[in-house]
Subunit: 334 residues, 2 copies
Amino acid sequence: MEPGERAPSVTIRDVARAAQVSPATVSRVMNRRSTVDVELARRVQQAAASLGYHPSVVAQGLARGRTELVSILVPDLGNPMFQSVLRGISRAAGVEGYRVLVTDSHEMPLEEPFLAQETRLRTDGLVLCSPRSHDQELLELAGKLEPFVLVNRHVEGLLAPMVAVDYAAGIRALVAHLAGLGHRHVAYLSGPMASVSNQERLDTLHASAEGRFELTVLECGSMHEDGYEAADRALGTGATAIIGYNDLVALGALGKFHAIGVSVPDEVSVVGFDDIAFARYASPMLTTVAVPQEALGEEAWQRLSAVLRGEEPPADVCFTPRLEVRQSTARVPR
Amino acid sequence: MEPGERAPSVTIRDVARAAQVSPATVSRVMNRRSTVDVELARRVQQAAASLGYHPSVVAQGLARGRTELVSILVPDLGNPMFQSVLRGISRAAGVEGYRVLVTDSHEMPLEEPFLAQETRLRTDGLVLCSPRSHDQELLELAGKLEPFVLVNRHVEGLLAPMVAVDYAAGIRALVAHLAGLGHRHVAYLSGPMASVSNQERLDTLHASAEGRFELTVLECGSMHEDGYEAADRALGTGATAIIGYNDLVALGALGKFHAIGVSVPDEVSVVGFDDIAFARYASPMLTTVAVPQEALGEEAWQRLSAVLRGEEPPADVCFTPRLEVRQSTARVPR
DNA sequence: TTGTATGCGTTATCAC
DNA sequence: GTGATAACGCATACAA
């Protein structure tokens, strides 16, 4: 065989010939369809085995009209939050024989619509995770993306199933916790501007901080580095407590404080968001708002799966995150 | 349309009819093939646009004999090391228009051969990452998996391209570092028994510890929890330095020591392996052996890509990891 | 129960 | 340059 040449794969016809039956019968045996004479079935099995036959998934996909593949698009594969969602979907889908095709938009909102369509065309359905696009854009795109489900985002008027998190509730719990500890000046390390959940956290923060403490917002980002870099700026504002956009940012801040000899939580309190696995193993253990990440993925799959079966998907769900008080928060220093 | 019914997708024929040309011409236009009369091309473009036509990727796959999809199989999607490799592949492949289908074997070595074959059949090629199977099994499987490349594993006699890491060199650097700090009793938190790289680390450890320090090996695992759980056991052996199977384990141990008030590195030194992003932001910053994770993925893609093009792949590569001395190691306490 | 024939949506070969 | 037509490999309605 020349390099680049097509490998001569063994087809259903080859098996049929070897077993002296029709291709249809081979197909029936391979798919455990209807009742095939046991003797014929045996011959087919044997022929298939000895020829090393495997049905072409692509041909099956074309003939059946489905690939048993679903796509997931995430803003950043490097973020443990999305990795967990991916895991949840991958695991749940795997049980039903579906595989997952993953695409990373690398936090480039403008690429999102194209990538979403592109990857969607390759599979039976799509999970759109924390899309950074505007509501309007998603509404226009929806028709081309169906069937799909939305994770970590709510869009009014969209008929796609949604799996969301009540970030506002999480923020309120956080605010109550910090206010209860006596903090009167809090800094928020803001995430990507395109992140809708960042916007939601910001709005809720402003609203619920009112009358409880002064709030300073600092542009930051979504990665370790961003938190590390922003930590002393935050401290410079006079804040006694710092809320990270997510755990990555909070952990980055923790790292910086440790590096410059600022004690947490004695001199400053730090909290995160998501409760990624590392939050629990940080020093000090990070107080954070726990989002059920793998569950998000599982619920997303349940809905996509239902739609793929032509059934009515379960109702939209909105998880209420749980405040996980650990060691990175304490009473305000006096 | 009834639920479950097939969506009536617009086909190449619909476009041909609308543009009053043959399907062949439409195909030529869509693929920018040969020279098509500019007027006809315009009509086709327009018809395609107004009908919202997108070529069926599945049908293209069948006709062209390739899907522009590759698979990656990893032992644990929850491990940042594999996530980084996945990212590296995903990014590199994406540039050439290839998408990545990811499968997680959930550290179940027995499932691996089946999953590898299954996922391979769905795509044009496979990246086998840190397979837990025995050499013999891989050798027997090889024929069914081609084309594929091996990451983080070397198998004698296998003609598949390989991208590996010289773990022995990493361990030797670690041993020299710890011995130089005066440590005379070291504990190794051992990873999954099925992990070949764990075995390699273990062997090298035994060999190079000889005459420098006493070595105690404790069964542990590959996750945070495992390290957290094993940390005080390790301390109980009288070891003054602890080597984790990977950063996750080391970070878990760090967490435990912080929880029980054991100071790192004053009372005990801790080192990891891989240099995941979190290692740098831990408190104290984790001394570890840096493995170029995304580069592994990129190199893997380069080789798979070459084979897919029918070219000779680049020679096997073996990265020498770099010792990253940070703050979790210090002179032995006296 | 089993085989025949057709369709799935493209690409590619070959005449025109 | 352009259009029939035959693969591509399988599933399935229908006939036997």
